[in-house]
């Protein structure tokens, strides 16, 4: 059996509580894998530990139990192999957009010349259509532009994997839509492996090949992994016209409003192998 590119095994996270040596873990027994080039979204309500999982993948947090293996090596601490786009963009306000990206490029390639670093940073800023605003400080950029700089920064280090923590949560629908399209474009062009957190069903359908559904915390688990039947690249404007769209969407919404709260695993539910579900495409499931 071949190992997936990224493998998460038996992950569990407890946060220490005063006077309680064994508090309820936020999540436990989390197993899943991501193949190279795959776009995986985690969908779940607040408090199910999505961000904690992402932080563990990024190496910014440590699991209480279990481990993460990427490309045959265990994840221990942060690494340039994993680029992170933070929920709050996390740009340094004293640096211009260009300098923010250059800071990352310089970290990746300390041996590069000033011109090389600059050219590389500009290339990624142009990819997110910010070529005209590279000398602006974050304070002079709109929320969407800031998040674009954050995306350019994460892509510019050409990581093996990209981690996105609800990057569009704070944006208005219009801006979100255009940045989502840009993200699709870059991911297609770079064949990037992506792990992204969201609580927006439509965003998950648009972007993800696999949608990991998490039950509510504490003791959150992976209920199932939904396979998106619609082929890549998906287009926001025509997506909802495809026959698979509504069965998939209904399945996800149904999970979020009902089953995430009262998830009752069946006898054959195995946390080590969360079931793959193919809503709207029973023929594929049988195959």
């Amino acid at each position: 059996m071949t190992q997936p590119f990224l493998k998460i095994e038996g992950l569990k996270r407890q946060f220490p509580q005063a006077g309680n040596p064994d508090p309820d873990p936020v999540f436990e027994d989390v197993h899943f894998g991501i193949e190279r080039g795959q776009f995986v979204c985690v969908l779940g309500h607040s408090g199910c530990g999505k961000t904690t999982i992402l932080n563990i993948l990024a190496g910014l947090d440590e699991a209480t139990a279990g481990h993460v293996i990427m490309d045959g090596r265990e994840v221990r601490g942060p690494s340039l192999d994993r680029g992170v786009v933070f929920q709050s963009h996390a740009l340094m306000p004293w640096l211009s957009a260009l300098k923010n990206v250059e800071f990352a490029v310089r970290s990746r390639h300390p041996e590069w010349s000033r011109e090389q670093v600059r050219a590389h940073a500009v290339k990624y800023l142009e990819m997110v259509h910010l070529g005209h605003a590279i000398d602006k400080k974050p304070a002079e950029l709109s929320g969407g532009m800031k998040q674009r700089v954050g995306i350019a920064r994460a892509f510019s280090i050409e990581p093996k994997m990209l981690l996105l923590d609800e990057p569009f949560g704070a944006l208005d629908a219009l801006t979100r839509g255009s940045i989502q399209s840009e993200l699709i474009g870059i991911v297609e062009a770079t064949k990037q492996t992506v792990f992204m957190i969201t609580h927006d069903v439509d965003e998950a359908i648009l972007l993800a090949d696999r949608i990991v559904l998490m039950t509510n915390g504490p003791r959150a688990k992976i209920a199932e992994i939904v396979v998106n039947p619609m082929p890549r690249p998906r287009d926001r404007e025509t997506l909802h016209q495809q026959p698979e769209f509504y069965p998939l969407r209904n399945h996800l919404v149904d999970f979020l409003v009902k089953r995430s709260r009262a998830f009752a695993p069946g006898a054959d539910w195995d946390p080590k192998n969360p079931p793959l579900v193919y809503p709207g495409a029973p023929a594929r499931a049988a195959a």
Binding site: G77, G83, S88
Partner: protein, 283 residues
């Protein structure tokens, strides 16, 4: 209303100033009129000579006399006629040199140490009791100890400036460094930024506005303290000048020096404010 009349505030300032000078003039000129008080004691008149002719008049000068004195100092700020008679420019120069010396030494100690305290909760906890005790001590209380150990009054004054500028810079640097936003540190971590690079490119710029605030408080305190310190150690400096002129009972010189102290203090504060503006960032 003030938006379309930008001259209103300066006009009011001028008005207040004129009012103040007017009151001052009236208050000092009335005493000049001979009062029907008791006659001057002949023995006292013999001691004072010509001064006695003014009777019991106060030595408080009017605005005209002070203005004339200021003009005199402006024309010749750097004269040197022996130990007890030097120009205001020389005296203020000594004071500024002492303040800058002690202040820069304090910055050299306080900023790196503050960095360390801000980065390490352990060092913070270990040093906190000392800082708590040392911070509220009046810098002048150190003076005898400094004079005894250093045995040089000039360096002792610099030491007193050093000790009083230290605490605001130390505490502010530690606070600024400790409260650098976690997300920027996380960015540095995910980019595997080395500690030195992180210190200079992430933590220092993030904490710079807070550090500058500390530096600005420090220069203000240092300028307050230098006057008192120089009154104690004597020899040179604007503080010594004030005390010396008190002994000479030259109120005009004292008032001139007071105005100069205020002016230089304002300039120092503006200088630091300008630097603070240059390195501050907006989110």
């Amino acid at each position: 209303m003030t938006r379309n009349k930008p001259w209103l505030a300066p006009l009011l300032s001028v008005l207040f100033f004129a009012l103040f000078v007017g009151v001052w003039y009236l208050a000092t000129s009335t005493t000049a009129a001979p009062t029907a008080g008791p006659a001057v004691d002949p023995e006292y008149a013999a001691l004072l000579g010509a001064e006695a002719a003014t009777g019991g008049q106060s030595a408080m000068p009017g605005p005209g006399e002070v203005a004339a004195k200021i003009w005199e100092h402006v024309l010749d700020p750097f004269y040197d006629r022996g130990t007890n008679d030097k120009g205001l420019g020389i005296q203020i120069g000594y004071s500024i040199a002492r303040v800058l010396g002690g202040y820069l030494l304090a910055a050299l100690v306080a900023i790196p140490l503050g960095f360390l305290i801000g980065m390490s909760p352990l060092v913070y906890k270990a040093l906190d009791p000392f800082i708590q005790i040392l911070k509220p001590i009046s810098p002048l209380a150190w003076m005898p100890l400094a004079l005894y150990t250093i045995k040089d009054s000039g360096i002792s004054a610099i030491f007193v400036i050093f000790i009083c500028s230290l605490w605001p810079m130390l505490v502010n640097t530690a606070f600024g460094v400790a409260s650098v936003r976690r997300e920027w540190l996380n960015v540095a971590r995910t980019l595997e930024v080395k500690p030195i690079r992180r210190a200079f490119l992430v933590i220092l710029p993030a904490a710079a506005p807070t550090i500058l605030t500390g530096m600005r408080i420090s220069i203000g305190i240092a300028w307050l303290v230098i006057v008192a310190a120089e009154m104690l150690v004597g020899g040179t400096g604007i503080g010594y000048f004030v005390w010396n002129e008190w002994n000479n009972l030259s109120i005009t010189n004292i008032i001139t020096a007071i105005l100069l102290i205020g002016l230089v203090g304002m300039l120092l504060d503006h200088l630091l404010a300008w630097v603070a503006r240059a390195i501050s960032w907006r989110e």
